[in-house]
Symmetry: C2
Subunit: 286 residues, 2 copies
């Protein structure tokens, strides 16, 4: 059904999609494009893509399915550009970390008579560092792949078939497909993905200032410290767009955590501390 | 040099010490005691101890070196009791997570004419769950083992030799020995060990309340969520004593993090956010 795939943005996610498609048995062509030529070369040499496009538009025009795998604002920009050059026999999908704006843009620019189909997607997979060199055919194995398709999409028969086929390839790459409303998606990931990231960033930043120069630091910090600060290495370039496009939900989650930390701080010597540990224990058991 | 070891408290750490000593080639006797008979039985069956004592005092009296491996307050209680029953040819050491009060008690109850030697110790190793059944001969491999010996200790020649010998066994178990002042220890671990724990507890607790019943939760949360909440499973019984014996340093660290989170929350759409990511990136690179 899908014979030609375009991967626009061969960073960690884009390269991993190419490798995972091949590992799952995809026999068609995979054309790739990347803002930096070096990243495209690495993806090409890894086998994630088998040709390099000169620009995103020509990549999309050659493909049945185009995967936009760039940060959120770049995704929104590319959606507006790409839709003008392809028709109803194409599907565009994405891997952006916030979905409300992208899903709205999907309704605005796609999913109408004469337009390509658009399927907003978000694999819950990644690493704390990016780049084609970290591409991994198993990145999506066991992970959720969220879709936030808006109701009322107008698609050609071919467009609808490509949507179904892409969902099947996502399953073949080892992911579990989950359908969510876009607003609910952004609310939920604010808690389970964005809050953990900003906590790790805040913890790493405050530790850098307070004990970053302690000579014993490297030796004394154990697995707990490494784990709790691993995401401190995450790149601003990706998280800026997430902070800008999910600001209110992230701010609400951060404020709730600030209040919880203050509550713990004020109760280090009272029985309230036990309640917090019990709630935390329960969260981990469930 | 050391022929008979007593392990008082055969939980995760005590059982692991017994297993690690055996793995490192210790040929002497290891007697164990545990508050719950079941924990002692598990340690015995695992080979971590080769006999079970009826009480902590008789275990210590039979041994050259007694390792107190119980929470901080229980350690302080046992120090006061045990010292009355053993003399200068004994060494008592511990694995408590805060060291200022224990080190002071060591000066008060031990390290004087006619008293046993006491060496305050803290292996930076553990798991988010306790119990003899999780005992692990490799738990201390690659970990720091901190000692906060107070200056001016009065020890018999035999006591001094046991201190040196125990330090060698700690190295043989795979740990890196680091000597620290006790006050500096408690300050440093407030940042690199206690703060990460209380953050994980707060995050797990707040998530339990806000999204604990979301049907998509289990699937959507990825590695980042699992890692950042793993320590949420930690038992209150151990952390209560830490919170009580290092309150001021922990409160200061928590307050610094609360302020940092608020700063990030207020700057989700300003260039300040980049600075926080860059500081966090630097902490992880160093």
């Amino acid at each position: 059904m899908i014979e030609r795939v375009a991967i626009v943005g061969t960073g960690l996610l884009g390269t991993s999609v190419g490798l995972a498609l091949r590992a799952a048995g995809f026999k068609g062509s995979i054309i790739g494009w990347n803002r930096s030529a070096e990243g495209a070369q690495i993806a090409f040499k890894s086998g994630a893509i088998d040709s390099i496009a000169s620009d995103p538009i020509s990549a999309a025009r050659e493909a049945d399915v185009t995967i936009l795998s760039v940060p959120v604002y770049a995704t929104l920009d590319l959606m507006a550009q790409v839709t003008m050059h392809i028709g109803g026999d194409h599907l565009v999908t994405d891997v952006g970390s916030t979905k409300l704006q992208i899903t709205k843009a999907g309704t605005q620019y796609f999913n109408q008579v004469g337009c390509a189909a658009f399927l907003p997607g978000h694999p819950m997979a990644g690493k704390e560092r990016g780049g084609a060199e970290l591409g991994d055919a198993n990145l999506f194995r066991g992970a959720a792949w969220l879709f936030t398709d808006a109701p009322g999409a107008v698609r050609t028969q071919r467009g609808g078939e490509l949507v179904l086929s892409w969902r099947e390839w996502v399953v073949a790459m080892g992911s579990k497909v989950i359908d969510l409303d876009a607003a609910r998606h952004d609310e939920l990931v604010a808690w389970v993905s964005h809050l953990p990231q900003f906590v790790a960033t805040a913890l790493s930043s405050v530790l850098a200032e307070r004990v970053g120069d302690a000579p014993e630091l490297k030796d004394v910090g154990g697995r707990a410290l490494r784990e709790m600060t691993r995401l401190g290495a995450s790149p601003f370039s990706m998280w800026r767009d997430i902070a800008h496009t999910n600001t209110d939900a992230i701010a609400a989650a951060l404020e709730a955590l600030e209040q919880r930390l203050a509550h713990i701080r004020e109760n280090l010597r009272t029985p309230e501390l036990r309640d917090e540990f019990e709630k935390a224990n329960r969260f981990r058991r469930e």
